[in-house]
Symmetry: C2
Subunit: 211 residues, 2 copies
DNA sequence: TCAAAAGTGTTGTTGATACACCCATGA
DNA sequence: TCATGGGTGTATCAACAACACTTTTGA
């Protein structure tokens, strides 16, 4: 009988900060060896019979200290199988994404660096983040659950621009992004307008998910 | 300590049959319970420290009876985590694709139904095939390793049309597919022409990977 | 009234689709 | 010489990017 490989689920937890106007990644210092004290993605060993999303929720709750109600959506990314990625021995790491609602976050040991500027992490988590970033950027405006999870039920054009810039690296023209959103089924421009940004300027329109 | 979930690697093994002009999927009858005798995707339990592609090669070799040299390329698809997918208890299934060179296939217990018409399979393998088919179609002409693995180092426009039809479900216009291939870096039209098809017609040009 | 930022309209480019027509083969 | 089917050229349409110009706010 072949001995089986332990499976860990590592989560890229994303949160949009409207004040900093960027997407943040949830990381937390490790409590135990190896890499005790070093920052790492929240991760747990997959329990027998546990589903991947359940494990991801558990990781976000236990490692980032976020209540489960704060998790708005989650999904699969890829699997990392380098045998040497964990010094304790070969383990598989299945990467998942999760989005959280900043309003429902209680304290916790987590730090939230901008996704565009993540400090060095434990294990091969730098590589995981690097490899998964394009996958996340690709999901925006394509995967409704992901986009809605990140932006919330209601958001402004300005916020949509900020999120897109954080994920893809460059800022689209407001006009063009507006047209992308108008074409998106399940999303509609409301009649309302939000307050203008601190520096002034025309107040952006508010968008809402219809379904 | 949490008990860990066994991980199996299940492989969608693809092969292009130039005579039947379709892409075939490798399946084999199961030797043991559960589902003994029923057709299934080749799959093995992932060994400790084993890489996913190694396990995939092992599955194709042991379950389909194909020599490892016949495998031309392989890669990841998705993970299936329904706890009830195996009656023996919860297991994870990581789906991989592999392409084989029909010329290098020795006998073996495998059957090769067309990918478009796969008979009912054991476990949740029907669902795996159904879910992964769009992923495979999406890789064609995008993932060079996949496309080259399936078509071989040298192929004709007619074969490219056949493969595209098998994977996507409809046959592109030869002119348009020709332009897609011309834009593809690493692929070039040669000066040669293949023999015409049995029914006659203009002999198709031969394409070759340059890198 | 000026700066800032969203929104409207317009234009050019690119990719995909579709098709008319030309070419090369087997029967 | 006809049916078959690949190859060339062209038209059409949608998506996207880019930008001039207008509108609405705060200072």
């Amino acid at each position: 009988m072949i001995e089986s490989t332990p499976v860990s689920v590592d989560v890229l937890t994303l949160r949009f900060d409207p004040t900093a106007r960027t997407v943040l990644l949830g990381v937390a210092p490790r409590a135990f060896e190896p890499f005790a004290g070093a920052l790492a993605l929240p991760g747990v060993l997959l329990g027998k019979g546990e589903r991947l999303r359940e494990a991801a929720r558990r990781a976000v709750r236990d490692k980032l200290g976020a209540p489960e109600e704060a998790i708005t959506a989650s999904g699969q990314l890829t699997t990392f199988d380098e045998p040497s990625r964990d010094p304790r021995g070969p383990t598989l790491s299945i990467a998942l994404w999760a989005t959280v609602d900043p309003a429902r976050l209680a304290g916790g040991a987590a730090t939230w660096p901008p996704l565009a500027d993540v400090p060095p992490l434990a294990f091969d988590h730098d590589r995981i983040v690097a490899d998964c970033r394009p996958l996340l950027a690709d999901r925006l405006w394509r995967d409704v659950a992901f986009t809605a999870g990140l932006l919330g039920r209601e958001f402004t054009t300005a916020q949509a621009l900020d999120v897109t810039e954080s994920l893809t690296g460059d800022r689209p023209y407001p006009a063009n992004l507006g047209r992308i959103m108008e074409r998106l089924p399940g999303l509609a421009r409301t009649a309302q307008h939000a307050a203008a940004l601190p520096k002034g300027g025309r107040p952006p329109s508010v968008w809402r998910w219809t379904s």
